[in-house]
C-alpha cells in the first residue's frame, strides 16, 4: 500500500508545509496506539476491570462467585436493554426521560391481558411490544415532526405513561404470571447435555461464542488486509482473542456452576450484537451519528433528519417494551411503581460508557460497560452491606466523574494540535 499520500495534483508553487505525516508506515498498529487512539473507550474498560477487581477484593471474592454473577445478570438486564436504546437516543443528541414509565406501562398491559383476562403468555408479550412501539411513535412524532425538544416530550411522556399505567392497573398490583412468562427473566437453559455438577450446555454456548468472536474477528481482519487497511499486529490479534475468550469462558464456567445459562442473557447478547452492528454498519446507524455530530451538516448532506429521529424513538419504545417484559417477568407481576428511575440508570450507563452530552459520540458496547460498572458497584456495595444512602452518593459521584473525564478528554483533544 502507499504509505504516504502522493500528490497527483500539480505541485503547488508556494506550499511550505512539510511532507504529509509519515503515519501508516506499517499496516499494523501496536497496543499503545490502539489504546491512545481511543482513550475515551479504553478508559472505560480499564475502569471496569479496576472496579470489578476492587469489589472482588473488598468482598473477598464473593462478588465473583457463580451465584452472584448470575444475580448481576438477572438483576440489571432490563437496565442494559434500556441503555442500548438510550445510547442511540443520546448519540442523536436527544434524551428520553420516559423509559421507566414505559417499562411500567408495557408490563402493566401485558399483566392485565395475561393475568386478568387469561390470554396466553405470548399475547401479553406481543401487546407489550405493540404498546412500546406506539409510545415510541408518539414521542417520535412530537420530537421529529413537531420539533419539540426530546427533553420536554419525554418529560411529558414520563408523567403521561405513568398515569396510564395506574389507569390500566386500576391502581393495584397484579401477580403472578404463568410460569412460561416468568421464565423470560428467571429461567435457565440447564441440563440440556446432562448435569455433571456443572452445566455442559452453558460451556458449549460459551465456547461457540468465543469461536464466533474469533472467526468474525479474523474475517474482518482478512477483509481489511484485502482493502489494504491497517490492522493490529497478528500476535496482538491472537492476544485479544485469547483474553476475550478467557473472560467469556470464565464467565460461562461460573454460570455453569450456578444455575446454568440465563435465558435473559441470551436475549441480551442477541440485542447487544444486533444493535452494535446496526449502529456501526448500517446507513441508519451512520445517520444517527451524523445527526448528533452536526445536525446542519447532516441535513445538507441529504440525511432525512425527521425520519431518522422518528425511528430512533420508535426503537427506544421497542426496547422499553422488551425491558418491560423482562422486568414484569422478573417481578412476576405488574406494579404501579414499576420502573421508577430506570431512565436515570439507563442515561447514566450511556454517559459513563462514553457517550457525549452534546451528541455524536457513544457506542452500544460502551453503554453496556457503563451499565455494568453501575451494576457491579451497586451489587458489590449491597454485598458489603453499604447503606442505601451511601450507595446513591457513590453512584452519583461516579456519574459525575465519568462525564468530567469526557469533558476533560474533549478539551485535551481540542488543544492537542
Amino acid at each position: 500500500m502507499a504509505t504516504t499520500a502522493t500528490p497527483q495534483a500539480d505541485p503547488t508553487p508556494k506550499e511550505p508545509e512539510a511532507t504529509p505525516a509519515a503515519a501508516l508506515t506499517t499496516g499494523t498498529s501496536d497496543l499503545r496506539q490502539l489504546l491512545l487512539r481511543n482513550l475515551r473507550q479504553s478508559g472505560i474498560y480499564i475502569a471496569f476491570v479496576a472496579i470489578v477487581a476492587l469489589f472482588a477484593i473488598l468482598t473477598e471474592g464473593l462478588s465473583l462467585s457463580p451465584g452472584n454473577i448470575t444475580n448481576i445478570v438477572l438483576q440489571y438486564s432490563y437496565i442494559l436493554v434500556l441503555a442500548i436504546g438510550m445510547v442511540l437516543v443520546i448519540i442523536a443528541g436527544h434524551i428520553d426521560l420516559s423509559v421507566g414509565s414505559v417499562v411500567a406501562l408495557t408490563g402493566a398491559v401485558s399483566a392485565v391481558l395475561v393475568i386478568q383476562r387469561d390470554y396466553p403468555w405470548w399475547v401479553g408479550m406481543l401487546a407489550a411490544i405493540a404498546v412500546g412501539l406506539a409510545v415510541g411513535a408518539w414521542h417520535g412524532f412530537w420530537v421529529a415532526y413537531v420539533g419539540i425538544p426530546a427533553f420536554i416530550v419525554t418529560l411529558a411522556g414520563m408523567l403521561l405513561f405513568r398515569g396510564l399505567t395506574l389507569q390500566v392497573l386500576g391502581n393495584i398490583s397484579l401477580s403472578p404470571f404463568p410460569s412460561e412468562y416468568s421464565k423470560v427473566a428467571s429461567g435457565f437453559l440447564n441440563g440440556l447435555l446432562g448435569g455433571n455438577g456443572y452445566d455442559a450446555f452453558t460451556l458449549l454456548i460459551g465456547a461457540v461464542a468465543v469461536a464466533g468472536y474469533a472467526v468474525s474477528g479474523f474475517r474482518t481482519r482478512v477483509a481489511r488486509i484485502k482493502y489494504q487497511q491497517p490492522v493490529e499486529s497478528f500476535p496482538l490479534f491472537v492476544g485479544r482473542v485469547l483474553v476475550v475468550g478467557a473472560v467469556v469462558m470464565y464467565f460461562a464456567w461460573q454460570l455453569a456452576h450456578a444455575r446454568g445459562l440465563p435465558i435473559v442473557l441470551i436475549i441480551l447478547a442477541v440485542l447487544i450484537i444486533a444493535y452494535g452492528v446496526i449502529s456501526k454498519r448500517t446507513v441508519f446507524g451512520r445517520q444517527i451519528y451524523a445527526i448528533g455530530g452536526n445536525l446542519a451538516a447532516a441535513q445538507l448532506s441529504g440525511v432525512k433528519v425527521k425520519v431518522v429521529n422518528f425511528w430512533i424513538f420508535v426503537n427506544m419504545g421497542f426496547l422499553s417494551a422488551i425491558a418491560g417484559i423482562i422486568y414484569s417477568s422478573r417481578s412476576n407481576g405488574a406494579q404501579p411503581a414499576a420502573g421508577n428511575m430506570f431512565e436515570l440508570d439507563a442515561i447514566a450507563a450511556a454517559f459513563i460508557g462514553g457517550a457525549a452530552v452534546t451528541g455524536g459520540v457513544g457506542t452500544v458496547v460502551g453503554a453496556m460497560v457503563g451499565g455494568l460498572i453501575m451494576a457491579v458497584m451497586s451489587n458489590g456495595m449491597q454485598l458489603m452491606g453499604v447503606e442505601q444512602q451511601i450507595q446513591s452518593i457513590v453512584k452519583g459521584l461516579v456519574l459525575l466523574l465519568a462525564v468530567a473525564f469526557d469533558v476533560y478528554n474533549k478539551r485535551r483533544a481540542g488543544t492537542s494540535r
Partner: protein, 511 residues
Amino acid sequence: MDDNILEMRSITKTFPGVKALENVSLAVRRGEIHAICGENGAGKSTLMKVLSGVYPAGSYDGEIVFDGQAASFGGIRDSEHVGIVIIHQELALVPYLSIAENIFLGNERRGRGGLIDWNKANAEATELLQSVGLDENAVTPVGQLGVGKQQLVEIAKALSKDVRLLILDEPTAALNDTDSEHLLNLLRRLKERGITSIMISHKLNEITAIADRVTVIRDGQTVETLNLDAGEVTQERIIRGMVGRDLESYYPERTSDPGAEVLRVEDWTVWHPTQDRKVVDGASFTVRAGEVVGIAGLMGAGRTELAMSIFGRSYGRDISGRIFMHGNEVRARSVAEAIDRGIAYATEDRKRYGLNLIEDIRRNVSAAALGKLSRRGWVNGNEETKVAEESRRSMNIKAPSVMSIVGKLSGGNQQKVVLSKWLFTDPNVLILDEPTRGIDVGAKYEIYTIVNRLVAAGKAVVVISSELPELLGICDRIYTLSAGRITGEMPVTQATQENLMELMTKERESV
C-alpha cells in the same frame, strides 16, 4: 495639528498564519462622518475590533490615540468608558427584553438599594428614542420591531452611554431603502450634535452622500484617505482604490472548452424565512459542461441564499422558479432529491454546515452518498475507507490517515474534505460557496487546481465569491448579483474588477 479625535497608527494584527492588518493607519477628525470601505476580508472589521478592544491591547502592534490620550483597551468596557461604541452588523439585542431593558443592558440605572428604577429607566429610554426618531413605547419587546427600528434602538443604546465616537459596521446592509434613508438622516443629526461616526459600508452611493472622508483598505493595508467634501470624488474613484491590485499569478492555467448546457435556473425568487422581503428576486442563470461560472456579489446580496434555495430548498420560503438539468425541468424539493438530480453545494461555512468535526475523514467523505457504499442498508466499511483513501490521495489532504478527526485539520484540508464529500456524490453541477475562505495561499492554489480538473472532466462548476480577483482568475463567465437580482453577466474576458464592482453595487431602482 489637525483636530483628530482618533488616530490609529501602524496597526498590525496577525492571526495564526494570516496577517489581517499590516501597518494600517487611520485618522478621524472630530465631528466628521468617516467611511471605511474595502472588499470583504480586507480587514475593516478587524480594524474596528482592534479599536473597540475586542482584540485587547497587546494582541496587536501599533498605537491608538483617542482624544489626545494614548489608549490601550483591555476589552469593550474600556473603550465604551471613553465613549467609543461599536454597533455590529449582527445586532446584539435580546429579542425578548423591552427596548428600555435593552438600552440599559449592562449599564442599568440603579436606584436606592441597588435596585433598578424602571420608571426612571423607561422615561430616559423614551427620551433617547425621541432623539433617534423612533416612535415606539419603551416597554415594547425588541423582537417585535423590524430590523431598521432595531438598528435605531442600538443607536439609542449607544447614546445612553454618552457616545463620542460611534462605529457602525454595515448599518444599512439589512435595511430597505426607507429605513436606510432614515438612518443616514439620523447620522447627519448626530453629527450636528458633535458626535463623530465611523461607518463601514459597501454602499458607495451612501458613502458619497453622507461621509466627509473615506479611508480605503485593501488586503489589510490602508490604501488612501479621500476627501469627499469637494464632491470631486466619484464612486468609480473609490472602486479603483478598493480593487486596484494586480491579478496575482496564483491562478493555475487552464483552457476552457464549455460544452452543452447542464443547469439552467429560471426566474428564481426566494423570500426571507422570517422577514417580509425577497432575498432572491427573479434570478436566472445557466451553467454549461466544462464551464466555471462565477457569481459575484457583496455580503447580503443573496448569493448563499440563491445557492442554498436551489440546493433542495434548504433556505427560504415561498420559493418559485424553475430548474432545468440537461434541458429537462427537474424538481429538487429536498436535499436528498437535489443530490439525486446531480446538484452539489459546498457551503461557505464548512465548520457549521459542511462537516461533522468530531468524526474522521472517512465518515465525512461518505456522508452525502452513503447509499453508494451500501447494499440494503448495510454499509461496506472497507469500501468506504478505500474511497476516503482515494480522496485523500487525489485531493492531497494532509492528514496522517483517513481515520484522522476532521476538526483537527487545517482550514484548507477541511475544505478538501468537503470537496471530496461532494465529488463522491458524482454531481453534474458543483456549487462552491466561497471555496477559499479562510485558507492559505498554497491551499487556495490547490483548490483552484481541483476545480480545473473537474471542469476538464466535463463537470459544471459555479463559484460564489466576494473576492473579485479569484473570480477573474478561475471563471469563464461571471454573473453579478446585487440585492437579490442578477444585475449583469459577462464573459471573463470582458470583466474587470471595476465594472463588476459597479454592477455589484448597483441599486435596485437603477436596474
